[in-house]
Amino acid sequence: MLLSRTWLRKRREQLRLSRQLVIGILIASAVILFLCVAVVRRDAMMLIGGGSFYELLKFTALILAFLIPLSGIYSVMLDFVFWEGWLDGLPDPKDLFADSSLNDSGHRHYVIYLDGIHQSEEDHPPRVSRFLEKLEAGIDEDALLVKGIEAYTIMPVALSSASYSQWFWRWLFAMQEHHPNALISFLSSFLVQANNVIKVGISSDRRYGPVMNYELSLKIARRLESIGFHPSRASRLVLVGYSGGGEMAIGTAEMLQRLCRVPVQVITVCGVFSGNGSLAEIERVAMVVGAKDPVAAFGRLVYPGRLPMLPLSNWNRWQSHRKLARYEISEMGHNGRSGPFSERFSSDVVTAICRELACSAPQ
């Protein structure tokens, strides 16, 4: 077991390296192409103006214009099929926390970590695991860190075990982990991430968000129940969401508060979130942000509801009544060597989270 985990970690490191290599090669190719265009401009202009290039471009754009919305609709359809109860596994919330004597964990605070869109299975990548170990060591003794929740699936089983599409995900994960060609591994990993991005989109959509967020809240609540959480013994839940996990945390917070009957607070780390989620009953949200995080900055453009120019948006209305805590870490980016899980910044992020936990602890 230990051997296979070590081997998996090694494979992930290799994959990350090859992914960085592919990105490096792509950037280098783009630079070389740009230089070539500059040198042989006239020929390049003829090429760009040529019919075949246009045809290819149009064809690709057309395919993408259909493929992106269709995959979104397919993903929504699965959520609604689950909601309708046509797939097994949607529990009745009345059965939650029915027996208070079962399996007492002895903790009062539950810190639930929701990973970013890179998550493909319950186990976190090594860098995230190291960060979570630090966080676990930093939080109080009566707090429990809950990890390994798949934030981008609503089913009680992992993607690779889902009855309707397990063959596809298993095939994709196998390609991602084992394919000798770095480009294919990268593309497989890209597809997994695209699925997670769509889920972030569904969660932030005003039409579909409530259903998906409800399903995810139920999944988290069931997990909490299985590790000994009971409303009569706990004093709060803290959702910590990294990147797209921030959207899932904000989306599920209010529903989780109702299901678990304890106050819920949210901490986003380099969060990319819309602020469309229902937050009326949530008292506290904190953001740990990197001063040099381009992805989170881009997220604010993609989700304009968070821009100050729209004072009547859901997020801005919430902010006008409640305090948003903000912890900025200078020089921190979104991922990689300057990201929140790097050796350089992980301690700062853990300190910020622990500070927020201490500030907001119920008396």
Partner: protein, 188 residues
């Protein structure tokens, strides 16, 4: 750089001309109108599904919405025909005009993609803008109305159609989703 921009502009102009000529050659009538109506209606299929309607109820809702949406567009086209008769002194013949202009609605066949999460508004705006552009191109190709003047002719009818859609349908779809939002917490 200027050459490239000019080249692009010529390319865009050629494409628009090609689009206009293709639409003139196309024969589309009531079928296209209903197709667009069904596509728009189907884009909000999830609101019906989420509100626990039976399959027969869902089918009736989709059909009624499709007819209503088709009528909304038809109303807009008739409005255009009236304005064209007033401004350009084209003899008032709404049936012939509708026969010629209905084809402009073809991008609406893809309105079902508005069902996609988060990017739905972008898709909807693109499709409506495309339909309006098609109306302008058809007016230029069939009645020799310049694009700027075509904007004056088609805009009121287009806005009228959008208002009818917003009042009758968008409001109902929105209330369906709102009902769903209310229903979700009551499940616990």
């Amino acid at each position: 750089m200027l050459e490239v921009v000019q080249h692009w502009l010529v390319g865009i102009n050629d494409s628009l001309e090609f689009l206009a000529q293709s639409m003139v050659k196309m024969e589309a009538g009531l079928g296209l109108l209903l197709g667009v109506g069904f596509s728009m209606s189907a884009s909000h299929f999830f609101s019906l599904l989420a509100n626990r309607l039976k399959p027969i109820q869902i089918a009736v809702h989709l059909a009624v919405d499709a007819f209503g949406l088709g009528l909304a567009f038809l109303l807009g086209i008739f409005c255009d025909s009236l304005i064209l008769a007033m401004i350009e002194s084209v003899p008032l013949d709404p049936v012939t005009f509708a026969n010629q202009m209905t084809v402009a609605l073809w991008p609406g066949l893809f309105y079902v993609l508005v069902g996609a999460p988060y990017i739905s508004d972008l898709i909807a705006v693109t499709i409506f803008a495309w339909i309006h552009l098609n109306c302008l191109l058809l007016l230029r190709a069939v009645y020799a109305v310049p694009l700027a003047k075509g904007l004056v002719v088609t805009s009121p009818g287009f806005v009228l159609a959008l208002i009818v859609i917003a009042l009758l349908f968008a409001q109902r779809w929105r209330s369906s989703y709102a009902e769903l939002v209310r229903e979700v917490p009551s499940r616990q």
